[in-house]
Amino acid sequence: MKEVKAATGSTRRMSLKTRETIKGYLFITPSFLGFILFSLFPLLLTVVLSFSEWNLVSGLSGIEFRGLDNFIKLSHDKGFINSLINNFKFVLFALPLLLIGGFLLAILIHNFAYGKKLFKTVFFFPYISSAVAVATVWRVIFQPSYGPINELLRSLGVGNPPGWLMDGKWALFTIAMMYVWQEIGYYILIFITGLQAIPEELYEAAKIDGANRWQQVWNVSVPLVSPTTFFLFVTGMISTFKVFDAVQVLTQGGPGTESSVLVYYLYKESFRLYRVGYGSAISIILFLIVFTITAIQMKLQKRWVNY
């Protein structure tokens, strides 16, 4: 009798466990199906396509396996190389400005000014606005012959102001400026949060040691906020590699490929020229860049962030 009881008890426990397992899988099923269909499978498909040639118009049977052809072609493709270089230029221009400017404004707003809340809101408006609408505005403001910016420059005595978006030398820079303008509110917000986490006693201690306000900022705030700086540095680098909307609306990568960036080139090759295999190879490069940044970040995190 005892044995029978124990046995039924264990099967009941087993079935409860199995039932829980089934329920668990049922709960995640909708999300998991989407995950497979729209994340995992597409990722694998990108890898496969990057080694093949396929013109979208030719249908499924038109796929041809081409090994490393696409990647070899990319290494000679001026448009691609230009886009890649432009992405690095973009990072070099925008990121220091965002990090230094964002930090200084955060310090000023957080420690020195009245109306902290109002400033946070005001600097945040551009961030919340859509890139497309904002780009439309910038296109008009930077209109070379009669836009307000050049009118202002002329009235200040600049005889021959730049053609901004129409000028190959300035187009990328103008887009990067718009990017900085849109993003800086986010950097300020995150820096202020980082500053709030610094224990007040450290400032008191620095003050007792005779540090004035700016020395407190330099010797206490700057090092202690470094985890935040590092976070913004890494995520900022990744998101500049994803810039697309502004380029598509403002210049279409032009003139020529002077202001093209990686994602825009990917879009153009895949959806304007229908070269899906080639476009997928560009996707793989983008993936590798972001992956490398993430991997380096994980390695460096401990060394770079210093207290």
Partner: protein, 285 residues
């Protein structure tokens, strides 16, 4: 953000505080000037758009007519608005429902392979969306969903982030709270909808508002997945409008204002949630 604000030691002298505030106000005005110029221009008659010095308050206003042209003209913003509202609202709601179910599974039910699967989820969060743009296009094409609102909604509904955010929150809810319900015979679904979700309202609101902003602002998705103008969302509408009316700057600005306004309103009313959401991603450990 409770507790004392951590400031530098000692209060800065009043004079320097006023000085810094004035400087910041100037920077703030410069920052906002493109947006102010946009609003002001949307009310101008076309001939006055480029008057210099800039007329911040239009001398001759044509605002009503401009907005009428934008909203009721041949390229109608009313349609884009309805499309955007439809796509955005359905995406927000479905991504929360799907996310909440998965988050519950990942945090409240024990089953083999659970944590491995969750790690897989997290790993794909690091992959830029653009990397899978081409395959997603192909998949939608083969499902016969290309050029429909449904494909935009599907594309936005399966958000790993919603699973992640809601799971993180559900982990903080004490087991005792749900154990009591279990003893009363409540099933998992009942526990989720009756007990957990009501407690999770703030984090749902945070996610919902962020998702609203992202979906509303999404340009790349509709650009790649839609071709019929009658299905266009607001961002595509703005682009199409500025291509069609490239020389009518006052109308273009009225269109831009129309696209940005809902975001500004959402931001003013939901500021607390937006900030909480953006900040929670950055504060680690």
């Amino acid at each position: 953000m409770k507790g004392k604000k951590k400031l530098l030691a000692g209060v800065p002298p009043k004079g320097s505080r006023i000085f810094v505030t004035v400087i910041l106000a100037l920077i703030g005005i410069i920052m906002c000037s493109p947006l102010l110029w946009m609003i002001s221009t949307s009310f101008k008659i076309e001939a006055d758009v480029f008057n210099f010095p800039i007329e911040w308050i239009p001398r001759r206003s044509n605002g009503l007519q401009n907005y009428k042209d934008v909203w009721l003209g041949s390229v109608s913003f009313a349609t884009y608005y309805i499309n955007s509202i439809k796509v955005t609202l359905i995406s927000v709601i479905s991504s929360i429902l799907i996310g909440a179910l998965a988050a519950y599974g990942f945090s409240r039910i024990e089953f083999p392979g659970r944590d491995t699967l969750f790690l897989l989820y997290l790993a794909t969060m690091a992959i830029p969306e653009q990397v899978t743009l081409v395959p997603r296009f192909i998949i939608f094409k083969h499902m016969g969903l290309f050029d429909t609102h449904l494909c935009l909604i599907l594309n936005a509904s399966f958000s790993v982030l919603s699973v992640f955010m809601l799971r993180q929150f559900m982990m903080t809810i004490p087991k005792e709270l749900t154990d009591a319900a279990k003893i009363d015979g409540a099933g998992h679904l009942c526990t989720l909808f009756r007990i957990i979700l009501p407690v999770a309202k703030p984090s749902i609101a945070t996610f919902a508002i962020l998702k609203f902003v992202w979906t509303w602002n999404d340009y790349q998705g509709p650009l790649v997945f839609l071709t019929s103008p009658k299905l266009y969302t607001i961002q595509l509408g703005v682009k199409m409008f500025s291509d069609a009316y490239g020389d009518f700057y006052s109308l273009m600005m009225a269109a831009a204002v129309s696209a940005i306004l809902p975001l500004i309103l959402v931001f003013i009313f939901g500021q607390k949630y937006i900030i909480a959401g953006l900040v929670s991603g950055s504060v680690k450990g």
